[in-house]
């Protein structure tokens, strides 16, 4: 018994150490980013490796906050990401439910197409996509970019929700119908609360995809007022890998704040939603 206790404690200790190493590995780049953002360019280039700056330097943040283009781009990214996330989830949810519950001849083809559409990289579709959007007068518009992101994220979100809804027992639905619930009442009063964790998880994935996306935003948005954050951040880099490192670090730190806030709110749902949605086609 005593030996088992000791073994247990040793194992626990090893696990804690591994988790700590993993935590440092994952978090240190962000800590370093914050550290750089508070250092002057001279200290960044010549000051050696110190996490705590020798002298705290706030001018990078002052420049960033005075740069109206950057603030505008953060706002544009927020609008595009929140709207595309919302629309994607609202479309994917009933679509996933239909795919699970309704038996049709084309179900397998639809599921296959959802998978196949993930193979195409953005660079392959960007030119024909631009031409379609230009025909619809949707280039250089937040609405147009949002619709592109909805189409881009939908297969992935749909696939995740499909897997989750598939795991919900049919008996729950049948019980609701026996008790007199309509389909709509079932979806909103019973199904919706049950799959809230999955919705949280897929929503955050959709938000992150839109928030980080670069190529579509670069090509489709020409007006400086419509530029999104990733494109705006790329303008801190010059030829041959040169960069205004301090400014870029400060801008990147500010850029992570909306994602952090959103993740904090949806964290609980994300954790349980992440473990579900395993696919059984």
């Amino acid at each position: 018994m005593q030996i088992n206790n000791v073994q247990g404690m040793v194992l626990k200790g090893i696990k804690q150490i591994i988790m700590l190493i993993l935590l440092i590995y994952l978090v240190f780049p962000f800590i370093w980013l914050v550290s750089i953002s508070f250092k002057s360019t001279a200290e960044i280039l010549t000051g050696g490796i110190h996490v705590i700056p020798k002298d705290f330097y706030f001018d990078h943040y002052r420049s960033i906050l005075n740069d109206s283009n950057l603030i505008q781009s953060v706002f544009n990214s927020l609008v595009v990401s929140i709207f595309s996330m919302t629309i994607t989830v609202m479309i994917a949810l009933p679509a996933a439910y239909s795919l699970v519950r309704f038996k049709t001849n084309i179900k397998n083809a639809v599921l296959g197409w959802i998978l196949a559409s993930q193979i195409f990289p953005a660079i392959l579709v960007i030119i024909p996509l631009y031409m379609v959007l230009r025909y619809l007068h949707l280039t250089d518009s937040i609405f147009g970019l949002t619709m592109v992101y909805v189409v881009w994220e939908l297969p992935f979100v749909l696939w995740m929700l499909y897997g989750y809804i598939k795991n919900i027992p049919l008996e729950l639905e049948e019980a609701a119908f026996i008790d007199g619930a309509t389909k709509l009442q079932y979806v909103y009063r019973i199904l919706f609360p049950v799959i809230m964790p999955a919705i949280g998880a897929t929503a955050i994935f959709a938000f992150i995809i839109s928030w980080n996306e670069f190529l579509f935003a670069l090509v489709l948005m020409k007006n400086p007022e419509n530029v999104t954050l990733p494109v705006q951040l790329s303008r801190f880099t010059g030829m041959e890998g040169q960069a205004r490192i301090g400014l870029l670090a400060a801008a990147s730190c500010l850029a992570t704040i909306p994602s952090l806030i959103l993740f904090t709110f949806i964290r609980k749902g994300f954790k349980s939603g992440l473990m579900t949605g395993s696919v059984k086609v």
């Binding site: 001279a42 629309i87 030119i127 631009y130 250089d140 937040i142 609405f143 670069l218 790329s234 041959e240």
Partner: protein, 425 residues
């Protein structure tokens, strides 16, 4: 609810109508240059309310994708800032306006011939107006030189590659007596060094690119191998070059130079002086070395340009702005802001380009040694650089094979790439 979401999104979009101004895409990324550009645009707009310019800042890392998709889909800017090696490729594909008919005598005569040569096609078509030129210089640590009684090179007495190696060996020191060298004679940014090798091989008589039966091919002979042999000698045989050089770019070498790790940095763009002026520690004394000499002192030129896409509907107005942007005063301001050389001869007469401070005199004089590389105009040069030259050079520096083997591989793989671009010729 879906209707509300779409409605508010459309309203939000509608508030951002694209204007009818001349769209000018700039790659300025340094604060001073961005400011100089903005002032210039503001001055122009005040004087020309009927043909206002909209300043759009892009980035070097994304401009290629931005332009290629613009050219293919008609969403072109009216003026864009780029570099001569790439716009030649665009011109070959028919994307750019021939600016030759717009250029008047004054501009033609005042911009240096070698800058014109970098943007002029064999047919006489000119697809970009050059305004900034990059020259290659060296940097040295004045205090280390003084401590070791070394006279730095001058415009009149430049150093050869052999002299640099000799001094490099002399300046290797183990300053903290721990058995390892911590002050190296030479630092050199060799990561992704195709550009550096191409431009410096010219002084050894090397060209790499030549024409056979009307088609561009790559040939790597003794003259092309000479610079590679010199680098490997410094790195492997004499060990006077810091080992981390092979993994660092020119930009990344500068912090080590400022910390005193390298007594000299060779093969560096003149624009790097800005890093030293703005970020060097207090009391750090540095100087500029003229380009190194081999058979000649010539190095390849790379110019930055403004071009007008063929699909632009405001070509004449766009060129009027270019003419204004590239008058002597404005070009000088742009060049000083970016720590590069202006393309106009009249700018060289201005005091800021002739002062001994920050090596301006030496940099300005290096114009005499600039020449057009034979690779200019080669279809597929960009792909060649990224897919063939840089990877093989990295493997060479890492010791995977000899210079002769690298030469063989460069020839074989280069000609495979180039043949793809010249299939229909």
């Amino acid at each position: 609810m879906i209707y509300l979401i779409f409605d508010s999104l459309i309203d939000f979009s509608r508030s951002r109508e694209t204007s009818d101004k001349i769209r000018f895409v700039s790659l300025a990324w340094q604060e001073q240059l961005i400011e100089a550009n903005r002032e210039m645009v503001a001055q122009w707009n005040k004087a020309n309310p009927d043909s206002e310019v909209e300043y759009i800042q892009s980035s070097w890392s994304s401009i290629y994708d931005y332009l290629i998709t613009s050219f293919e889909t008609d969403g072109v800017p009216d003026i864009f800032h780029y570099e001569s090696t790439i716009i030649v490729d665009f011109a070959n594909r028919g994307y750019l306006t021939d600016l030759a008919p717009f250029i008047e005598e004054e501009m033609k005569n005042d911009i240096v011939d070698v800058a014109w040569a970098s943007v002029t096609q064999p047919s006489g078509e000119i697809n970009g107006i050059p305004f900034l030129m990059e020259s290659w210089v060296g940097l040295y640590n004045k205090d280390i030189f003084e401590r070791n009684n070394i006279e730095p090179p001058t415009i009149e007495k430049p150093w050869t590659w052999e002299k640099v190696m000799e001094i490099g060996v002399q300046l290797n020191h183990d300053t903290d007596q721990d058995g390892r060298i911590d002050q190296w004679g030479i630092g050199m940014g060799l990561r992704n060094s195709a550009n550096l090798i191409m431009n410096h091989s010219i002084s050894f008589g090397g060209s790499f690119f030549t024409k056979e039966n009307g088609k561009y091919v790559v040939r790597v002979g003794d003259e092309e191998k000479a610079l590679l042999n010199s680098i490997m000698k410094m790195y492997q045989e004499l060990k006077c070059m810091a080992p981390e050089s092979i993994g660092k770019s020119g930009t990344e070498i500068i912090p080590g130079f400022m910390r005193g790790r390298y007594s000299m940095v060779i093969g560096i763009g003149a624009a790097m002086r800005q890093q030293l002026v703005e970020n060097a520690p207090e009391g750090f004394n540095w100087g500029v070395m003229p380009p190194l000499v081999s058979k000649t002192q010539k190095t390849g030129i790379n110019t930055q340009t403004y071009s007008i896409p063929k699909k632009s509907k405001k070509q004449k107005d766009a060129f009027d702005f270019i003419r204004f942007a590239f008058n002597t005063e404005n070009m000088a301001k742009l060049a000083r802001s970016d720590w590069m050389l202006p393309a106009r001869k009249s700018c060289f007469e201005l005091p800021p380009f002739n002062t001994a401070n920050d090596g301006w005199e030496i940099v300005t004089k290096s114009v005499d040694h600039l020449t057009v590389g034979p690779w200019l105009g080669t279809p597929g040069y960009s792909e060649w650089k990224g897919r063939v030259a840089n990877p093989i050079l990295q493997e060479l520096y890492a010791g995977r094979f000899s210079v002769d083997e690298a030469a063989e591989r460069i020839e074989i793989e280069s000609n495979l790439v180039l043949s793809r671009y010249q299939r229909n010729k």
